[in-house]
């Protein structure tokens, strides 16, 4: 069965420091991987995706994510965190044999960036 795990419910970072939000996945075959961000009282916004090719994917707002096939991970990173990055982050996976648009989401990680 396909699944996504975000092992940390919350991540706390000081402004200006690098941040990492972790994600591991389980899927048959090669995965399609996505990161979304949710600000308070808003829907999810798409940040970036990994399909194939370069293991380092760049996305919106200065975020990037590193795909590691051997560790089945897709961690979200940013070199220098901003207070405005504080939000809920979701990792999602779609297997290549999955139906059309369906995604499997992780439980979410609350990122808190303090000044």
């Amino acid at each position: 069965a396909q699944s996504v795990a975000q092992p940390e419910d919350q991540v706390n970072v000081a402004e200006g420091n690098p941040l990492t939000v972790k994600c591991t996945y389980s899927v048959s075959g090669n995965p399609y991987l996505f990161w979304y961000v949710q600000y308070p009282n808003r829907g999810l916004q798409f940040l970036l995706k990994y399909i194939t090719g370069d293991n380092l994917v760049k996305g919106s707002y200065g975020f990037e994510a590193e795909f590691n096939k051997s560790q089945t991970s897709f961690h979200l990173k940013k070199p220098s965190a901003l207070v405005s990055d504080s939000a809920l982050y979701f990792c999602a996976v779609r297997g290549r044999d999955n139906q059309g648009g369906k995604l499997i989401f992780g439980q979410g990680t609350e990122l808190s960036v303090k000044p």
Binding site: R96, G100, K102, F105
Partner: protein, 116 residues
């Protein structure tokens, strides 16, 4: 930009009522989805649809139904609302064109539904 619009941001209903949540997308997307979001549980898929008049059950369809009479509109129906259906409901859409497997889903801002 893709716009997914949910008709209500906040809704309060009573136990036993029939509740309709409406979602409209303006990008001619084939796929539409309804999720509920609860703290600690992430997003759980209720129903989805690949085409007009077509629907598929997601992971938690019990107590819900859907309607897709037009391509741009996907409605979620709580047949007889119960207090355990108090939640945030999110609608999303995605394209089936090109390489559908790598198309992201685009979300509305959600409806926070309270059942009293």
């Amino acid at each position: 930009d893709v716009k997914v619009t949910q008709s209500s941001r906040y809704l309060v209903k009573r136990t036993g009522e029939k509740v309709f949540l409406e979602c409209v997308q303006d990008m001619d997307h084939e796929n539409m989805f309804w999720y509920r979001q609860d703290p600690g549980l992430g997003l759980r898929l209720i129903y989805f649809s690949y085409d007009v008049k077509m629907k598929e059950k997601g992971d938690i369809p019990e107590g819900y139904s859907v309607s897709r009479e037009k391509k741009e509109r996907f409605s979620l129906i709580l047949e007889s609302a119960s207090t355990n259906q108090t939640s945030m409901y999110l609608c999303a859409s995605s394209s089936q064109q090109g390489s559908p497997l790598n198309q992201p889903q685009h979300f509305g801002d959600g409806t926070r539904l309270s059942i009293l």
